[in-house]
């Protein structure tokens, strides 16, 4: 049995291949690469899941025994798995393959980023504060939320491209995107899903903090940025549901929201603070 690291590097290429297939299907309007893309994406997601489980068992073999959700490398791997899983669900439910271009790209980029030498990939033992089931729930729910927001952002970008191109592009790749109403609707659905999971993620994080440090909220930069992200999406939901915003304005807000997600995830480490294990 290969070890998880080898497995993950192979999966990286499979995601890349899925991206190429989806892109070809979209640009050349062929159904074969599209179906191929779906198959490859399923293979990549399955491989990703196996890699995740392998790493889990490896940590047990090393005597540390923890769910692999405790550092940047591990969270990236879970993130790409979540993106692939949620996307495949959407593809099967709504029969839209063009979104696969973005989903496979995001999954590929995340897992490729994990392969960079600057990302510590060794299995490290957990310090006591991280040995908590709340932490596992926290990471899983946060990253399901982030993955849904990533897909929502991809769909919003498609919306912006398509609505900019205008009605004259009756044929060509842009025309093969789902119609604007479907894109708008899918963005909204992904965001509600993401919002629910981000909320649960922040809440489980707060409960964990309360168990470990005796405070559920401490305004540290990572916490604050997750709240900022939450507030942006809450603004989006209210603007849409109560003020009737749709279309481009929602698409822009969705991109801003995802930028906040990325900053919460990667940018916060550049700021001074103590949430630095992630």
């Amino acid at each position: 049995m290969p070890n998880s690291a080898t497995f993950i590097s192979i999966v990286t290429f499979i995601y890349g291949l899925a991206f190429v297939c989806y892109l070809a299907a979209w640009i050349f309007k062929k159904s074969l690469p599209g179906r191929l893309g779906t198959g490859v994406m399923i293979a990549a997601a399955a491989g990703n899941a196996v890699g995740f489980v392998l790493r889990w068992t490896e940590s047990y073999q090393m005597g540390y025994g923890y769910a692999p959700l405790s550092n940047l490398y591990e969270s990236l791997i879970f993130f790409s798995l979540a993106v692939a899983g949620i996307y495949l669900f959407v593809e099967f439910k709504y029969k839209v393959r063009t979104i696969g271009v973005f989903a496979s790209l995001f999954a590929f980029l995340a897992i490729a980023y994990a392969a960079l030498p600057s990302v510590e990939s060794e299995i490290q033992p957990l310090i006591p504060a991280l040995q908590s089931n709340w932490l596992i729930a926290h990471v899983i729910t946060c990253f399901l939320g982030y993955a849904a927001f990533a897909i929502a952002c991809g769909i919003s970008i498609m919306y912006l491209i398509k609505s900019t191109a205008g009605p004259e592009s009756a044929s060509g790749p842009v025309a093969r995107m789902p119609d604007l109403e479907t894109l708008d609707d899918l963005t909204h659905q992904m965001i509600t899903f993401g919002f629910l999971f981000l909320s649960i993620g922040i809440i489980t994080g707060a409960i964990w903090a309360e168990q470990a440090w005796g405070r559920y909220w401490g305004w540290d930069p990572k916490e604050t940025w997750s709240l900022i992200t939450w507030l942006i999406y809450a603004t989006l939901l209210h603007a849409r549901l109560m003020r009737g915003w749709t279309g481009r304005r929602i698409a822009y807000l969705s991109c801003v929201g995802f930028a906040a997600v990325l900053f919460t995830y990667f940018g916060v480490n550049l700021l001074p603070g103590l949430h630095s294990y992630m």
């Binding site: 649960i200 707060a206 005796g214 305004w219 604050t224 603007a239």
Partner: protein, 463 residues
């Protein structure tokens, strides 16, 4: 709706209307998001001197005046939160009072026209069956699975409608979410007024009652005492700590009332106080020996010392006060083990600090005084570092958490829908039409119509 002209609207009305706008909530949510960024860019609650160095004489006073160094507790951030609460409360009262009757009417209305225009309407014929027969099959099913069933004759007097609905109560989900936000804020407020957070170090075998408050140079006393019977730490082969735990006893009026192992992530709760395993370290034994060595003659003098005690220098030339101890002193980036800190007060000289690392007795020679000082025969005891906190707001906050999750789920993934089965006679046959309407989830209501149609078809065939 307020039908009065703005001219005679009283001030109260105007304020009410200001807070009853969703535009205000959008603005507030976004403002909170944007302003919260400042506090993540500027580290909060650091040393004022450090801020002054960093931001210079121009920006430091400006930032300070804006409370940017403790912005989440500043008056303006709190004001934003209060506005948010007012907005939420006023909006909810306003909308709930006007929509309550719409949400919970005594007799729900069904308008056939709206179902006929519904995008997901399905129609199919059933041969050789009258509307009456079908009504008799479908009605019990509908009664079982939907609420507020109404069976009516069609307008033309021929055929029937069977109306039903589901999920009316889910319209309250939004109010639950908003209520949960209020609970969170209330919990946080109670916590900040009646709660505290502090630290206590208890050496093995000792009992302590006092602890120092965080964010304030103050000590407080618990109503009970905490005794540490044992402390253990285990390490991974790499040297990282794997687990640490203490055997803790709670002592009240001399009696042990609770004994438990205290681990990280598993606090003890006792009489509203929570005790967390937060750190550990070494503390010096009660006394140790301080050695003074004359630099010229090499003469040795020894004295007993203790932390917090002042001792005479040899020859009465001043005093040495041992002030503090660390179990891991760092010198030029190297960690050189336990060390004592003291202050030297020589007659006719400025007081000066001394550092006395136990494992490097010659360290103080670098000071080049007439004596060099070292600590001999120091002994240590392990202490357990406890965090002591009390936050009576936590139950409210946790209730808010639960309600928020439930409310979000209900709001986003459940929806109120009305369904209609129309049975239209066509000679000996019947046309069946199934349609659903919903104020919110149009895509889902199409699915619901599909599913209901599938059920009905199966029942018709099975008969």
């Amino acid at each position: 709706m307020n039908t009065r002209k703005p001219a005679d609207a009283s001030a109260v009305d105007q304020i009410w209307r200001f807070f009853a706008s969703v535009r205000l909530s959008v603005v507030l949510l976004l403002t909170l998001a944007v302003t919260s960024v400042f506090g993540t860019v500027i580290p909060q609650n650091a040393d004022p001197a450090a801020y002054e160095r960093k931001f210079g004489p121009v920006f430091y006073p400006v930032f300070d005046a804006l409370n940017l160094f403790d912005m989440y507790h500043s008056w303006w951030f709190r004001l934003l939160l209060c506005l948010l609460i007012a907005n939420l409360v006023v909006c909810s009262i306003q909308r709930l009072s006007s929509t309550w009757k719409v949400i919970f009417p005594k007799t729900p209305k069904y308008q056939p026209e709206r179902f006929r225009k519904s995008a997901g309407r399905l129609e199919w014929p059933v041969q050789g069956t009258s509307p009456e027969d079908l009504k008799n099959i479908y009605e019990p099913y509908m009664r079982k699975h939907f609420a507020n069933i109404r069976v009516e004759q069609r307008e033309s007097g021929e055929g029937f409608f069977i109306f039903g609905e589901k999920g009316r109560w889910t319209r309250l989900g939004v109010y639950a979410v908003h209520f949960s936000v209020l609970l969170l804020m209330l919990g946080a407020l109670i916590g900040s007024i009646f709660g505290f957070e502090g630290y206590m170090n208890v050496p093995e075998g000792e009992t302590r009652q006092a602890f120092s408050l965080k964010n304030a140079d103050q000590n407080r006393k618990l109503d009970f005492a905490i005794r540490c019977d044992d402390f253990t730490v285990s390490h991974y082969p790499s040297g990282r700590p794997k687990e640490y735990k203490s055997d803790i006893a709670i002592v009240e009026n001399g009696d042990v009332v609770l004994e438990r192992k205290l681990r990280v992530n598993d606090p003890i709760r006792y009489r509203g106080i929570k005790i967390f395993q937060s750190s550990y370290g070494k503390t010096p034994g009660d006394t140790f020996t301080i050695q003074f060595k004359d630099n010229d003659s090499g003469m040795k003098f020894e004295k007993k010392g203790a932390v917090g005690k002042s001792i005479e220098m040899p020859g009465g030339s001043g005093t040495l006060m041992i002030q503090d101890f660390t179990d891991n002193f760092s010198f030029r980036g190297h960690s050189i083990g336990p060390a004592f800190f003291g202050r030297l007060d020589r007659t006719g000289q400025e007081p000066r600090p001394v550092v006395l690392p136990v494992e490097f007795p010659r360290f103080d020679k670098m000071r080049q005084g007439d004596y060099w000082i070292s600590i001999t025969d120091a002994s240590y005891r392990q202490y357990t570092g406890l965090q002591i906190s009390r936050d009576p707001g936590v139950p409210l906050v946790y209730a808010g958490f639960a309600i928020m999750i439930l409310g979000c789920y209900v709001t986003f993934f459940m929806y109120h829908r009305k369904m209609c089965i129309e049975l239209i006679p066509e000679k000996q046959d019947t046309r069946i039409a199934v349609a659903g309407i919903s104020t919110r989830n149009r895509a889902a209501v199409k699915n619901a119509a599909n599913k209901l149609a599938g059920r009905l078809e199966k029942m018709t065939v099975a008969r």
